[in-house]
Symmetry: C2
Subunit: 464 residues, 2 copies
């Protein structure tokens, strides 16, 4: 639904809610998509939310619940009777229950666990033991498993009997009696096969699976590479313990991109959305890097201070520093962004290091020459034939040579570091996204200012 | 498969290829996943690729072909006889054929079209007419459609009869006789229903669909929001013309993130992978922004030049410029990255503008105060009680006040612009990712240097 439609719908529902027109509310809400209902519920007065929620049919209610924000979920759980909570938990998939528990405060968690049956409680506790970003924490335990030797007809019976509660029935997993994963068979294969066929004969035995402890980033990559709808998760003894479905993989892909973008902008990744994160937390997540980078910038300041005599003699020299620093920063940021993203999506490997450096150096040369030419034109337009500054008169062409040299050194350094630092970080298992623009800019600044003043004092030596 | 495994496998296959051991090659390759085979084929000597490719069973061969790079696909097509090409095209899904045609040079395209049957050729031409990033260009036309009034049994028969060639059979689309989309029914619903049930009774009539001209970014968002496996595409008269499957949506999500990261780093998005793009193209994609930003940095230079007298009197003032510029750049980059990403994933809307600004201003105040304090300590450590520069001696506490004020102004400006510019860009339909760090840094630089020297000349007035 479009934003506008949703707003109109929210208004309509608010009106009906004021009139307490339950039949009409039911009629309007029931055909809607759970994700849309959850968005509309965000606009509803909090005090009226439990009343409105209770109007929904049980199954739809659970689907809407999963789509809601943590705050609203908490509000509802606190309003629920124990019976209502129990019924709702019955409708949830295991992975959604686990997600819910991870987000709720301790006293709500106690109530949730109390209202689960003993077996569910045990499973939840097991899943909670997996590390936060692991396949185990991401998986659901509701999958269809078939046993070796079953016929297609038996498989269908099993799917009909147990499938209704499963998150997907489109990929079925074939195991032996000890639950070891032996193969997968898709619903498509089953539907197109004769009913007497043994599943072993039509199953794919070259199964792609992950270990419970595998990182979720690797999980997401498997989905992309092999175009999967679901991915089985096995324990240390190759026993099938769960599956991860494609909708969760999509969320991981998006989260990973968001995390990388945060890190590349020198922000510690947020745990919540932008608006749900407090001002204080935002400030804290941004301060550390600013602090480190500010202190590092002092080095550039010290270099400039070292050349105080040159600056006092020809103050115009300083006017070129922003151009140099910004160009260096931008060049480094371009190279590092390309490399970091390439590493993240698997287009660039750490073994490509020299190839990437060689490429960046050639790019640096092309870009450096082009920008130096533009800069020469700029300098002549700004100053004419001579630059008068302090007590000195310098021929502009000499200044143009100085700036052109400084520019090429800066751009080459920036491209080299922007390419090297992420790859080398990746090699020593540091997240390459940390080696992005801010980090590189700080180093390039120091190098470029040093190069600039070294060239200045060499070429313009006669004027000091 | 892991990188290491793949390398070993590639070596093994190269050896078998040298020995021309076809039975063994067939035995090793056939159980493998098409995506892995394509990776291994990348390592194979180009001259031997057609030979190796012909060893694969026909269906697997087509699956591998789809996973290969454009260069290798072209190589193979050139090596194919017309009959081989025809057979391969028969095995491809329509959307893959269209992707192939879009990538191949003109003479290869002519050969491909010549070897398609007339109906396929017509469909290809129609799909090619859709804009590059539209739903129409992304969709496949191989879907299962059911007609209103069919029973579940009839539906299954239709799926069995036609489903084998379809990209997905898990979502079936119900239309009326004039092909207008009326509802969807999942394979799960069909499997769990009685065979005599009419599909109209179990289909979902509140269907999520997109128009052929819808942007692919919107398409991807629908998949995320509603956890879809497939999304129907309709024409202007609501007639069903194709579907988009979740694997293509995942690719779009990844491409969009890559594009945003490129733009945020002031690089025109590449059309190909990092290594496949030539040095010249890389340079061209980076030059434009560098050029614009370099010229804009001139403004900052001019501001500095305007204060030449102050610099000549107290050259130490210049040493603070890198700290100020870097901190401003980093603060702007932090805010803009958060906001741009928030807009992209839909967490922030343009209507949230004032809320976001208010949040950023408070963050700016917190961060600004904290960094000013750190900076004061830094200044006293570096200079002691007085700063001697040029012919002047300034009390350090005065310099500390100047820098603290400049810092707070810079950080506030940076956070304000970093937050405002992406949201305002989005409001006037400009891609917010363009309003990222490089753009904002350039403006913040000018503002912060101007603020710094204004404060300097006001507070330190007595020393000039």
């Amino acid at each position: 639904m479009e934003e506008l439609e949703l707003e109109q719908m929210a208004e309509e529902i608010a009106e009906l809610l004021d009139k307490k027109d339950i039949p009409k509310l039911k009629q309007v809400l029931t055909p809607m998509n759970p994700a849309d209902i959850a968005l509309i519920f965000q606009e509803v007065d909090e005090a009226k939310l439990p009343f409105l929620y209770r109007i929904l049919p049980k199954e739809l209610a659970a689907e809407v619940f999963v789509e809601m924000d943590g705050d609203e979920q908490e509000l509802l759980i606190r309003a629920f009777s124990d019976r209502e909570l129990h019924e709702m938990l019955d409708e949830l998939y295991m992975d959604d229950t686990v997600d819910l528990i991870e987000e709720m405060p301790a006293n709500v968690v106690t109530r949730i666990l109390k209202n689960c049956d003993a077996k569910t409680r045990q499973t939840i506790n097991e899943i909670l033991k997996y590390p936060k970003d692991s396949a185990g924490a991401l998986m659901t335990i509701e999958f269809v498993s078939l046993i070796e030797g079953m016929t297609v007809e038996q498989a269908f019976e099993r799917i009909k009997r147990t499938g209704i509660d499963k998150e997907t029935i489109y990929t079925c997993y074939v195991t032996d009696r000890s639950r070891k994963l032996k193969g997968v068979v898709t619903a498509k294969d089953l539907m197109l096969a004769d009913s007497g066929t043994i599943v072993d004969d039509i199953m794919e035995t070259n199964v792609i699976f992950v270990d419970t402890l595998e990182d979720k980033e690797v999980v997401a990559k498997q989905f992309q590479k092999y175009d999967l709808l679901a991915l089985p998760v096995v324990d240390g003894e190759q026993r099938l313990v769960g599956i991860i479905t494609v909708d969760d993989a999509i969320d991981v892909i998006e989260e990973e991109a968001t995390e990388d973008i945060s890190k590349m902008a020198a922000v510690n990744p947020l745990e919540d959305t932008y608006f749900k994160t407090s001002v204080f937390k935002h400030a804290r997540n941004r301060f550390l890097w600013l602090f480190v980078l500010m202190l590092s910038a002092t080095v550039t300041g010290l270099i400039i201070q070292h050349y105080e005599a040159a600056i006092a003699a020809i103050p115009a020299l300083v006017a070129f520093i922003p151009t140099l620093m910004d160009t260096g920063g931008n060049c480094g940021s371009q190279a590092s962004a390309m490399i970091i993203r390439g590493l993240a999506v698997g287009e660039i490997k750490t073994s490509d290091y020299f190839r990437a450096v060689w490429k960046e150096l050639r790019i640096a040369l092309l870009v450096g020459l082009a920008l130096s030419m533009v800069n020469t034109v700029r300098v002549f337009i700004m100053y004419g034939a001579t630059i008068e500054s302090g007590a000195q008169v310098i021929p502009t062409y000499m200044f143009a040579i100085v700036t052109a040299c400084a520019m090429v050194v800066t751009i080459t350094t920036a491209k080299f570091l922007g390419c090297s630092m992420p790859i080398l970080a990746s090699k020593i298992k540091i997240d390459p996204a940390l080696m992005a623009s801010p980090m590189i800019t700080t180093i390039v600044d120091a190098v470029s200012v040093l190069a600039y003043f070294s060239i200045v004092t060499t070429i313009l030596n006669a004027y000091f």
